[in-house]
Structure formats: C-alpha cells, structure tokens
C-alpha cells in the first residue's frame, strides 16, 4: 500500500509586515466624484499601521499560507466530534448568489421575501429532522445554540416561578456544555457514565433534585455511543420538574433513525457546520439552530420568522422571549448552504448518510480493535474511541500516533477527548469517505502501531513531512506573543 502522505515543494513566507514597503497598495481605491470633506484633525489619527503590499504580494502571501494547511479536499479528516464531511461546492455557489450575498438585513420584509422564505423552510425542515415543532436559526455556532437553549430553560424555570441552581452534565459532555450552563448561572453537576460508556438512569435519578434545572445530554454521546436509556432519563428529569437539553452536534449518526423530539428531549441544538455539510472554515463561522418542544416556543429568541398566507415577516412581539442572540438573524450565509444540502439530499439521502456514517465508523472500529485498545467494545454510532494502551509499553502516546498519522497523509483523529477515556483517540470518518480511503487509514494506523515497537523514536519526533515539526506550546502560553 502506498500511503497518501509524501513531501513536496512549498514556500516559506514572512509575516505580512516584513513584506510591507511604504507606498505599495493592493486595493483599487475608488475614484472620487464628490468634494473632499475634511475632518477636524482633532478627531483623526494617523492612518492605521496596516502593511503595504501589491495585489500580487497579497495573492502570493495567502496562496503560500494556504498550502501549509491540511483540509478535507486534500485528505481524510477523521476528527471525532467534528463531522468533517465533504462540503459540496454547489452550496458555495448558492450562498454567493447576489440575491443572498448582497441582501441587506434591514431592507424590510417586503424586500426580503426570498431570505425569509428560505429561513422559514429551513426551520421547518430542521424541525422535521429533529422531531420538534419549532426552531430558531439565530445561534451563530453550537456553543451559542447551547447558550440559547440554556437561556430558554432558565427563562422557563423563571416563568414557573422558581429558579433552580444546578444542572446535570455527564462526564462525556463537550466542554461547551458546562461553560454554557455557567453563563446561565447554573452550577454544573458532573454525572458519571456507566461501565458501558452510557448514562445509567440510576445515576441520574440520584443526582436529580428539585433544585436542578435539568440535564444536558449529548446523544449519540461523545464516545460515539447511543444513550440507550434516554427515554427513561428524560422521564426521571421531567418527574422532578427539570428539562432535558440535547446537544445534537452528533446528529449525523441518526438522521431518519431517531427524532430527539420524540424521546423526551426538550431543547436541542444542531451544528449546521457538521451534520449539514457547511464548511468549517478553519474555525468558523458555524450555525447552531435550536429546536424546542411546544411549551418552550414562547421563549425562543426574536426576531422570529412568521408566515401568513404566502407572505413572510419578522416578528418581535413575543413577551416571553429570552431576547436577541445575534445582531441580525444569525449566520444566514451558512443557513443557505445547509438548506441547499438538505434539498440536495432529500429525506432518504439524509438517512442514507447517517447509515453510511455509522457503517464507516463501525468498520473502522472492527478493523482496528485488535490493533488499538477499544475501551467500549460495543456497536458504535458515527465515531469510535480508542486509547493508546497497546502502545504505552513503547512509551508511545496518543499524541505520538496522531502526529505520525500526518506523515502518512491523514489528519489525526480528535485526541484526549472525551475526558472519560484516558488518552482518547476518537475517530469519526463520516459518510463521504470511501471504503478505499478508510482502508488506507486503517493500514496507516496499523503501520504506526508496528512502528511504535520497531521505531518509537520516529513516532516521538513525528511529524516529519509538514512544514514545521512539533511546536513549543508551553512557551507560547507562558510568554504569549499574540501580535507581530
């Protein structure tokens, strides 16, 4: 087998200001057709010290920089919890249409019917996929959705007349879950998952009380396991007057299979930049819509999209709303892409995507479980989590394997998360990777595990092919240098 990773010619490139020369300008300054209106000098500064470059300088700079990046389009990106599936190019075409890209958010409903209709329909479709009657598209990312959802839970308790102080958060939860809860003033109570990697109703029942606002639950969880007791757990929480928050970032495993809204979950956020194929952009922007059950609809953020006859409008007159979460309506440009994706896939296509995502993950799990330690040996959903136990004897860690995978031409899995597993190595292939590429990945991991015994130094000093080797993160944090 030839591994995808190899080395080639790329280019060094200094920081922008090292290239700057007084008098260069890379932008076309518009011609002025009006008189100059000078400012009172007291109001002004010197021009900001931005670098001065020609257009080619800028193009070459960022082209070179880009070539130092790994991306989905260049290779498999099996980052657990991140759903790095193919980002269809047609989605970009759709979002770039002048009618969307150049739309002003305050042009007024009359002149925004296309955008409003798209948002309305997308809300409906996400409601159908998740099994909820209403959705807000306003949250700008998953964590923002969590905050929105938790604010709704907070507002609901307030409306019930008695606020609560705690929230249950399983140990497998993503870090954003407790952080979002904190922003709502809730104290997180850590809930241990059971020996099977999933939550046990008894544990929840023990922790749940009437000063607890509810539970935040990720299903499938970050171990890639389905929370089988979800209905029972919801019942327990509801019985004590709590609400269930669902982190739906892992929805890619279960579209068309389960609907969280049918399982007792009250509020759920989705990550359009995962499940719905919008690009991650090296950090964002994302979009984190939130779906709610009937009783929570009054608390949704404003403005909301409303349809009357065939006309769409924004409404803000909602007395119980938590208020506004975004300056305008959220990441509309991201919504367009997700909308285009859902229309392209259809219901059957989405279900098939989930089936194949789960197939890919189980295939990897089965193929590697004798090579790597698999702490929870059970059928998984969209991802599977290994540890570095089998290579520890060679003093090789998950980090070493991850870095070595780069030399083989694969992006490493998510490492050291979830925290419940020591030195986790969390693989989420997604459905858009073919068996052939997955087989190459499996071979690479096997080869690396062999190298762990035969040539551990090679792993410890990995990666060898990228432009830079391992970076000194300790000094970076101790003596932060955050600007040039």
């Amino acid at each position: 087998m030839t591994k995808p990773g190899t080395s080639g010619l790329i280019f060094n490139e200094p920081e922008l200001w090292e290239k700057s020369r007084e008098g260069r300008c890379g932008i076309s300054v518009p011609r002025s057709d009006v008189p100059r209106a000078a400012f009172d000098p007291a109001l002004t500064n010197d021009a900001p010290e931005l670098p001065q470059l020609s257009e080619l300088d800028v193009v070459r700079h960022f082209t070179r920089l880009s070539q130092w990046n790994f991306c989905i389009d260049s290779g498999m990106y099996p980052l657990g919890s991140c759903t790095m599936k193919y980002n269809p190019k047609t989605n970009e075409v759709q979002a770039a249409r002048t009618g969307f890209a150049a739309a002003h958010p305050l042009a007024g409903d009359l002149f925004s019917q296309g955008a409003l209709k798209l948002m309305y329909k997308l809300e409906q479709m996400l409601g159908e996929i998740t099994g909820f009657p209403a959705v807000t598209l306003q949250p700008a990312a998953g964590a923002h959705g969590e905050l929105t959802g938790m604010l709704i839970i907070h507002a609901w308790h307030a409306k019930q007349g008695k606020q609560r102080s705690k929230i249950l958060v399983p140990d497998t939860a993503h870090g954003t879950n407790p952080a979002s809860a904190t922003l709502c003033g809730y104290q997180s109570v850590n809930i241990k998952s059971g020996p099977d990697g999933i939550l046990e109703p008894d544990t929840v029942a023990e922790a749940m009380d009437e000063d607890t606002a509810g539970i935040m639950i990720t299903n499938p969880n970050t171990l890639g396991l389905f929370e089988e007791n979800i209905k029972e757990i919801c019942d327990i929480v509801h019985a004590k007057g709590g609400l269930v928050y669902g982190d739906g970032a892992n929805m890619n495993a279960v579209m068309g299979i389960i609907k969280p809204g049918e399982l007792g979950i009250d509020v759920l956020h989705l990550n359009l930049h995962k499940t719905f194929s919008t690009p991650h952009g090296g950090g964002g922007p994302g979009s984190g819509p939130v779906a709610v059950v009937e009783d929570l609809i009054p608390f949704l953020p404003v403005p909301k999209v409303q349809k009357e006859n065939d006309t769409y409008s924004f409404i803000t007159d909602c007395p119980d709303t938590i208020g506004r979460m975004h300056t305008f309506y959220g990441h509309f440009g991201v919504m367009v892409k997700a909308f285009a994706y859902i229309l392209s896939m259809g219901g059957d296509g989405l279900k098939r995507a989930s089936q194949l995502a789960v197939l890919n993950a189980n295939y990897i799990k089965e193929s590697l479980k004798t090579t790597l330690d698999l702490p929870y040996d059970r059928p998984c959903m969209h991802e599977c989590v290994f540890t570095d136990k089998t290579v520890q004897e060679h003093h090789i860690s998950t980090m070493d394997m991850a870095k070595r995978l780069l030399d083989y031409g694969f992006h490493p899995p998510t490492v050291y998360f979830p925290l419940v597993v020591d030195a986790a190595f969390m693989v989420e292939p997604t459905e858009t990777e073919s068996k052939d590429d997955i087989d190459q990945f499996i071979e690479a991991v096997k080869a690396i595990v062999k190298e762990a015994a035969s040539n551990p130094e090679k792993l410890k000093s990995a990666p060898h092919l990228p432009k830079v080797t391992r970076l000194d993160e300790v000094t970076a944090a101790r003596k932060p240098c955050l600007k040039g």
Binding site: P30, A37, F39, L43, N45, P48, L50, P51, V58, N69, F70, C71, D73, S74, Y86, F100, A102, A103, H104, P105, A107, F111, Q113, G114, A115, E128, A179, T182, C184, E228, G256, I257, I258, E262, P279, H280, G282, G283, G284, P285, R324, H326, F328, Y329, H331, F332, G333, V336, G346, G347, L359, E366, P379, K403, P466, V468, T469, A476, L482, G484
Partner: protein, 444 residues
Amino acid sequence: MRYLPHTRQDIDQMLAVTGHADLNQLFETIPDSAKTKTALTLPEALSEWDLNTEMEELASKNAACGSYTCLMGAGSYDHHIPAIVPYLISRSEFMTAYTPYQPEVSQGTLQGIYEFQTMITALLDMDIATASHYDGGTALAECALIALNKSKKANKIAVSSLIHPAHRQIMKTYLNPSEYEMVEIPADENGLTDVAAFNAMDDIAGVAVQSPNFFGNIEDLGSFRAGADEKKCLLIASFTEALAHGVLKSPGRFGADLVAGEGQSLGMTKSFGGPGLGLLAGTKKLMRNLPGRFVGKTTDSNGQRGYVLTLATREQHIRREKASSNICSNNGLNAMTAAIYMASAGKNGIREIAQLNHDKAVYLKNKLVNAGFKSVFSGPFFNEFVVKAPSGFADKRRELAQKHNLYAGIPLESYYPDMTNHYLFCATETVSRHAMDLLAKEVQ
C-alpha cells in the same frame, strides 16, 4: 447520490466486517421504541440543476438582486470587495480546514489569524485582539460580562442608549440570568451619549459607548475615559463600522480597556446580516479575561518560527464550567477574510477609502437637506447620519426601491418611538454621486 461513495459491493464487504446483516441492523443498540416510526417528510432530493433554479428563484426575491444603491447601514455596510478576497478565501485549504488544533498542518490558518490579530490591534491601537467572535453584538456582550465579572463590588454596566439597539438587546439577553444590571445612559440633544448622566451613576463596573454611535455621530470617548477613571470602571468602546478606524482617532488612543465591534466592512458581503465578524480587543492586563481563541507565535523543535492556538486554559475545552466564555467555533474564515482585505487595502488604502465614505456621506446629507430634509444633529459623523424626512417619505421610499432599486435610509421610529419620520442614512464609497443626485431630485 454523488456525495456518497459507497458502492453496493463496498457496503456488503463492510457489513461482513462489522457483522451486520444490513444497514438497519447497525442501529441495534437503539431500542426499537426510540426509533422514529415515520420516514423524513422532506422535499424529494433535487439535482444540482434543479437546486440552482430553486435557489435563484429565492435569491431573486430579495432586494439585493442585481446591483442596487444601498443607502442603509445600521450595522451592515455596502462596501467594495476586491476580487482577490473571495478568490483567496475560497481556497479549499482555508475553507475546508477545521480549527487549527493540529498546528503542524494548520500553519496557514494560524499565521493568517495571527496576522489578523496584529492588524486589528493596529487598527484599534489596542494591545491584543482575539481570533474573532460571532459578531459585534455578541462580542460586546462578552465585554460587558468581563467588566462585571472582574469587578469586586460594582454590579452594573452602563450602556449608552446610542449603542446599536440590537447590541443592547443581546447584552440584555446575556445578562438576564445573572444578578447584574444594565443601565442605559441617555442621549443628549446632539445625538451623543450624555456623559454627565454617566458621571452621576453609581456602582458601575464598566461603561460601554459606541463611536460612531448608532446615529452615526462621533462620540467623545475621552470624556468617558475620564469618567471611567473616576469610577475605576472599565471603558468599553464599541463600533459597527470598522472602516471608521481608517481615519478616526482609535479607541486605543482614547484609552479604552476593551473594544468590541463588527468587522463585516472588512471584505465581507452583507449576506442578510451574517456571518459577519465579531472583533474583540483589550489591554494586555485583560488578556486572560478575554473570551475565545488566540493564536500565538512560537518555535518548532528545530527552532523554526511557527504559530499555535494558545492560552487555551481560559477556554471551555480545558476549563469547562470555569472557562472565560463558552465560545468554541468562532468566525475564523471571516477573520481570514478581514486579514486579506486589510493586507490589500494597507495603511494608505484604508485611510483613503474611509475618507471617501465620509465625503460621500457629507455630500448626501447636504443634498438631502437642500431637498427639504431636516438635519437633526450638527456634530461630526462618519458615513451615517440622521435626518428628519418630509411627511410622505415612507411611500416615496418604497417607490424608490421598487422603481429605482434605491434603498433610502432606515426608519428610526421602531428603535426610538419618538423619532417619527427620522431616518438613518448611510453612504459608502460604493454610492455614486449620480445616485445621490437622483435621490435628491426624486424627493424634492
């Protein structure tokens, strides 16, 4: 489906390895009772070609179709975007990469964001800037929380009533579950935040002032700095129009402790309001209180220069419930967009474009006033200003949009109920004198 690579044979072979009879059986751990009984009721899958038709149909129902004259701002600005910006930003290597957690294969994103941080500090004259936030409003809300959380005693944040109404609403939403209180500083008759009213306030952890403010007027941040010093509270400067800093005295020069603003003007389309770019900067002292990611410079094991995400101990994935914020994904690609834009414009370009915005806005205001609109405030503004329109303008405005594809201002009444017939106008470098003359003629 062209996105799904699995052939029949692939599936059979893979199922043989996983030990399942068919795809449905893969979900064996899900109790039957939990499975949904109904297939997804969604429109049938569209081909790429039908999708194009459907999407263009929707897109064409927005005002933006074709080229239109945009005299609206209020947080979303119509600026020229050089062709190289979308071209470079759409390179797969930027667009389809994840957050740069593996720095060895993310140096492109990392150096770019580091450069972004640096240029933002240059633009604002601040010590440090984060790797981006969702938008100006959420960035401002985070700043309010920083001020309040840092304060030992004071539990109020003073907020100018001339901060963008949506930003104030977001702050309110964010503060709602807390014990903190948000108090508004009224406006004076010049359309400026009443500094005397602020000086009279007690128990203030921070004061937030937007300049240019929502009416477009340039605030005297210096007096708020003085007032904040008096109270030993933090000065938070905010803005919605990043280009203003191409010419106006920067918040850093006024001594702001925190700056939050919207960066959409730096190379991004309006896109019906998002994704934009939340900018967040602070003094060095506040470094560990700032939310979200930072890129820092370091070296690799060979001593070569390189960049990493750093100071992660403030962040949710390390600190969980004790994190400085819950933010995870930010608006990274838009930060990269802004970096490309700022590198293109450069020191002289941004100054020139900023000045041109002002020139156009002054021209427009004069034209409107000559055409019978009333100037409402007389102080200096950047590219937005308020006028009172003659009655009947609401209808005329709709007509101008429908007939001339010209969008004339934003009515202020819904934000400030006593401002009937008041409109917030904006003119940027994209607006031609011709269009402004046409407007003036039409409303005469």
